[in-house]
């Protein structure tokens, strides 16, 4: 059996450092397998989040060799074999312990967003008719597994720490899913511009690149939402009409 060298960040909010481990790696090993092996054999109290181990729950997000990744979907044999593999917690969120970060902020932001509100049902049994073509667009956004890797990589959060005025790619995808749902009646455009701060996004597309679900976050969610914000808030003709009607902005 082959061995690999892992450098795993260990510590808490007071600080920490990379600890080095030599680990036996089986065929087909993913990074999470190696972390589990370290935990079972060398560091019983190593803190790591995981659940499904199949890329479906989005729990095991970390930075592998500096890139935001799901540990369960990152094959060890696809990483350079000639140097140690580093595994660190997501940098955008405060560390709890070792590879575990405090992602509660994401849950707070989501709860603050105007909820889904359907139109009256089309049929007596309480159901709606929707075309497959129309549901496919929001269905792309509903593939999101809330791993928060897009939040981790986004420079507005990662480098500028604007958590208080910028909701981040995950939540634009969440809003886009409701805005494009054929039966939703809510309007979240003003909220996107103000509280959710979509204007801070300068479409560098880093989020799209790291999304393990392959959601085209920037092109399919953020840009269309930005267009709606622009249409509603900055369209000169609409402004003129509002001015004449006296409804203000």
């Amino acid at each position: 059996m082959k061995t690999a060298t892992f450098k795993v960040w260990q510590g808490n909010s007071d600080g920490g450092e990379l600890e080095t481990y030599e680990v036996e790696v089986d065929q087909g090993y993913v990074v999470l397998d190696a972390i589990h092996r370290i935990q079972a054999e060398q560091a019983n109290d190593l803190a790591v989040r995981w659940n499904c181990k199949a890329g479906k729950c989005g729990s095991c997000s970390a930075e592998v060799n500096g890139s935001p990744k799901l540990m369960c979907m990152t094959r060890v044999d696809e990483l350079p074999a000639d140097k140690p593999i580093t595994v660190e917690p997501m940098r955008t969120f405060p560390v709890v312990k070792d590879l575990v970060t405090d992602v509660s902020w994401n849950y707070e932001v989501k709860a603050s967003i105007k909820r889904f509100s359907p139109k009256t049902a089309d049929h007596e049994d309480g159901s709606w008719s929707m075309d497959q073509y129309d549901v496919e667009r929001p269905q792309e956004f509903r593939k999101c597994i809330e791993c928060f890797l897009c939040q981790d990589v986004c420079h507005v959060l990662r480098d500028h720490q604007l958590h208080d005025r910028f909701a981040g790619p995950r939540h634009y995808v969440y809003v886009a899913n409701m805005e494009m749902n054929p039966i939703d009646t809510g309007d979240r455009v003003a909220e996107l511009r103000e509280e959710l701060g979509i204007g801070y996004c300068n479409i560098t597309k880093c989020c799209t690149k790291v999304c393990p679900e392959g959601i085209t976050i920037t092109d399919n969610a953020i840009i269309p939402l930005k267009e709606r914000v622009v249409d509603q808030s900055y369209d000169p003709l609409a402004r003129l009409i509002k001015l004449v009607k006296g409804t203000g902005d």
């Binding site: 497959q132 269905q139 809330e146």
Partner: protein
Amino acid sequence: MTQHQVLEYDVIVIGAGGAGLRAAIEAATKGASVGLICKSLLGKAHTVMAEGGVAAALANVDDRDSWKVHFADTMRGGHYLNAWRMAELHAKEAPERVRELEGWGALMDRTPDGLINQRNFGGHAYPRLAHVGDRTGLEMIRTLQDHGIHEGIDVHMEVTVSKLLMDGGRCAGALAYDRELGRFKVFKAKAVVMATGGIGRAFLVTSNSWEYTGDGHALAYQAGAELVDMEFVQFHPTGMVWPPSVRGILVTEGVRGEGGILKNSEGRRFMFDDIPPLYKESTADTPEEGWRYVIGDREARRPPELLTRDHVARKIVKEVQEGRGSPHGGAFLDIAWIQEHIKDSEDHIKKKLPSMYHQFKELAGIDITKEPMEVGPTTHYAMGGIRVDPDSQMSTTVPGLFAAGECAAGLHGANRLGGNSLSDLLVFGKRAGGYAAEFSAENTPVHLQDEQIDLAVHEALSPLERDPGADVGPYRLQYELQQLMQDKAGIAREEGGLAEALDELQQLKTRAQAMGVGGSREYNPGWHTVLDLQNLLTVAEAVVMASDARKESRGAHSRLDYLDKDPEWGTVNLVLKKGHDGEMELRREGISEIPKELRKIIEEQG
């Protein structure tokens, strides 16, 4: 007195998968104050892994479907050991529970008419599973989560319950610790809903994550609840088998629903070789007829790959045992072959089974649109669990304790049909939450004694106070348990192995009780694993005892020394309860007589 925070609610819900979320939503809707306790982060529970769909007789794709057919299919699939009243309620209420999800933001795949689309699945007479590609569970948990966060529910994330607290004979709350810092929380509640899911971690090869350590089963048992049907553990026929690191990860039954076929190393479609009598008339005679069924020919009968999970799993094991398995000890599951019938099969497969495509591509280096997959049985689901009143979901012996979803028993009998768990958690999650809210409104506040709390805190902390060097460590001990259950209480059981398992479990129990762990209370998975082990050992004992007692093969329970179904066992459930001396006691209980009109439905549906 120990240090702990006290939180008081009308209703607490333990577990935040589909059943827990649905229960919490219902209880909150009824006006109860609700605390939802979740072992992981919200939205990560195992419901997320459900792939193929949610079973409900919407009759959108085939208008011959109805609750009656769904009821009869569920009873037949469960070999008639099901709690018939639960099967009736489930079949009747599932369609409304599924439809209401779209009002909360879910978006299922559509029929050409714009209605919710439905697909074929094993044991269901008609296309019945509402779905979103192969990520239906994610759709459901996210919908319930996104709806639930606006219903005034207090969510306690990464908090694990270590003990149920009692006020006399009545369930009155729970003691829990948070993973972050190991702080204790006392949840005081007038009603408690258990929704903790399964026990898969008791076995080595499993589709279940670290969380599924039978917490609900074990905690309820320790509090005096009855467990029933514990011998019935579902081994899903198609888990991944290669490479070793992914062994056990689920491959959805949807692959077979979309036309996937099983072959052995000789290229033979072995599922045609042995059709159980109960399904003889409803199974295709030829591959050609099977394919016509897949594409919706109403005159055709279903291919044998869509027989029930217990049967398919056993057939795969047989092929492997007789030397006709795939290179890594499974069978071949081939969806790529549909290119013979479908022009754009590659796109079709990617669209219908996107996460399967992704999973095999990334983890096994296999392109399922071109090559067959290697699959074998994986521990998937516990049919057994907390014995409840079919209508209210309240424990038969502990007032104030309710259970829903996988940790409750009754609906599925000896074998669960695919898709019936997602509908189960909606129907009975809602019922449990609703009745728990009613119970809390009708009953007086509870009183908790300090001594009870102090003792529970002491028990939970004791592994940290013991020497960690004395044994193999918590993970290895769990591994030993998993190996034991896999070998001696797994898919094929016999008296000698079960007797040995019972002995060895006692030794593991002793070692687990003496197990020490290093590190602090701060996010320490080693400590959490020791505590979870106590629950796993309790459910393992229950599985072994019940498996030993049921001297026949039925549904998911296969005995090498009693190969056939025994009619005498066909009307008997096995019930387990903690005895006065603290030992596990087992008794047989006859199934209550099924009402005439339901019996008639079963007879009419064949």
